[in-house]
C-alpha cells in the first residue's frame, strides 16, 4: 500500500531536515519570541511587576522581581527573537540567540507561568543542545536529533492537550461555552470542541505523511484560536514554526544552503 510505504520511508528519515524549512522554522520561532514580548508589553504585564495588578500566573517559586528587571528580560528576549529573524542563516548568530533566549524564557516561566512560555523555552533549550549550521554541506543528509526533539514537541503538545481535554469532558462543549459566554450557542461549542480534539489528534500524523496539508491545518487552527482567544498568538506562531519542520528533505532540490565553491 503506497501510503503505508510512504509513511515507513518518512519514519526512516525522521531526524533529517530540509535546510530551507529549518531557516523558515528559525525565523518563525524568532517572530514568536518578539510577538510574545510585544503581547506582554501591550497587556500591561509591567504593572504585574509594579504590584498594581494581581501577580498573574506567578508560581510562587521565585518572587516577582522589580519592573526594571522585567525591562531587561524583555529586551533580551526580543533581541534574541530579532537575531533569529534576521540571522538564522549564520551559525554564530543562531547560537548566540538561543543561548540568550533559553535562560531568559526559563526565568520568565518561573515569574509568569504560561503554556506558550514553556513551549518557547523548550524550543530554545532544544536548540542549545547541538550547534546548528544550516549552510553546512550535506546538512540535509545528516541526522539532527535536537531538531527531532523540536518536531516531537509538536506531537507531544497536541496529543497531551487532546488527551487532557478528553479526560476533563471538554467534548461536551461546556468549557467553550463558559469561555465565550453567549457569543456562541451551546450546539456550536459542542461541535467546535469535538473538532478541536479530533484536529489535535490528527495533525501530527497528517504532518508526517502530508506535510503541506498538515501545515495548512496547523495554520488554520491557530489563526482561529488567535481570533477567538486573546493572548495566544505567540503560541500559535511557535506551533506553526514547528509544523514547518515537518517538510521532508526534498531529493529534487538541494537540501543544504551551502554556498558554491
Amino acid at each position: 500500500m503506497p501510503t503505508a510505504e510512504g509513511l515507513r520511508a518518512r519514519l526512516r528519515t525522521l531526524e533529517r531536515f530540509d535546510a530551507h524549512a529549518v531557516i523558515r522554522f528559525l525565523r518563525l520561532f524568532g517572530a514568536a519570541l518578539v510577538v510574545d514580548v510585544v503581547t506582554e508589553v501591550m497587556a500591561g504585564v509591567w504593572h504585574v511587576h509594579t504590584g498594581k495588578l494581581y501577580p498573574w500566573r506567578n508560581l510562587g517559586i521565585v518572587p516577582l522581581y522589580p519592573a526594571s528587571v522585567l525591562a531587561i528580560e524583555w529586551a533580551l528576549r526580543a533581541a534574541a527573537g530579532l537575531m533569529l529573524v534576521m540571522g538564522a542563516r549564520h551559525a554564530k548568530v543562531l547560537s548566540a540567540a538561543v543561548r540568550i533566549a533559553a535562560p531568559g524564557l526559563f526565568i520568565a516561566v518561573l515569574e509568569r507561568y504560561s503554556n506558550h512560555g514553556v513551549l518557547l523555552f523548550l524550543i530554545a533549550f532544544f536548540l542549545t543542545l547541538a550547534p546548528l549550521d544550516v549552510t553546512a554541506p550535506s546538512f540535509g543528509e545528516r541526522d539532527q536529533p535536537a531538531l527531532g526533539l523540536v518536531r516531537a514537541q509538536l506531537a507531544i503538545v497536541y496529543v497531551f492537550s487532546a488527551a487532557n481535554k478528553l479526560a476533563h469532558g471538554f467534548a461536551g462543549g461546556h468549557s467553550l461555552s463558559n469561555l465565550f459566554g453567549s457569543a456562541l450557542p451551546q450546539g456550536a461549542t459542542q461541535v467546535l470542541s469535538v473538532l478541536v480534539i479530533a484536529t489535535e489528534l490528527a495533525l501530527p500524523l497528517v504532518l508526517l505523511r502530508w506535510p503541506r496539508v498538515g501545515l495548512a491545518g496547523v495554520v488554520a487552527m491557530h489563526v482561529g484560536f488567535a481570533a477567538l482567544v486573546p493572548g495566544v498568538a505567540s503560541f500559535g506562531l511557535a506551533m506553526i514554526a514547528m509544523a514547518v519542520l515537518f517538510a521532508a528533505p526534498s531529493p529534487s532540490r538541494r537540501s543544504s544552503l551551502a554556498l558554491p565553491g
Binding site: 501591550m42 497587556a43 494581581y54 498573574w56 547541538a130 535536537a146 526533539l149 476533563h168
Partner: protein, 113 residues
Amino acid sequence: MKSLCRALLVMNVLYCLLAAFQEGVPGWHMFESVEPLGHELRDRDWRVVDVRDYLPRGANLVDRGELRKIVAFVCERERARAPFHYIEPGTGLDVTLGAEGSGPKGCIVHADR
C-alpha cells in the same frame, strides 16, 4: 547527542503523563476545564468592581479558585473601598470581605463551594 535527545524525549513524555494524572502539576492543559465564573463584587458604596481591571489585558480566567484569589487581592489593595460584598450566584456564596479591623485574613474568600 542522539542518546541525550532520546533520554530527554522519554523524560518529556513521562512528565506529561504525570501532569495528566496528577492534579495541580503544570502540563499541556489548555482550556479543557473552564468553570462558570459568574460573580459580583461591590465596594462599600455599592459600586461594581471589575476584577479584570486588576489583571493583564487578555488574561484568560478559567478557574474559580483563582478568581477568589484575585478578589482577595483587590480587597487587600483597595482597603479604602472596603468592606466589599462578593456574590457567586452559581454557588450561592454571599460574603462580606475586608470588614474594619479584620486584617489581611478578612479579605480571603473562605468557601467550600
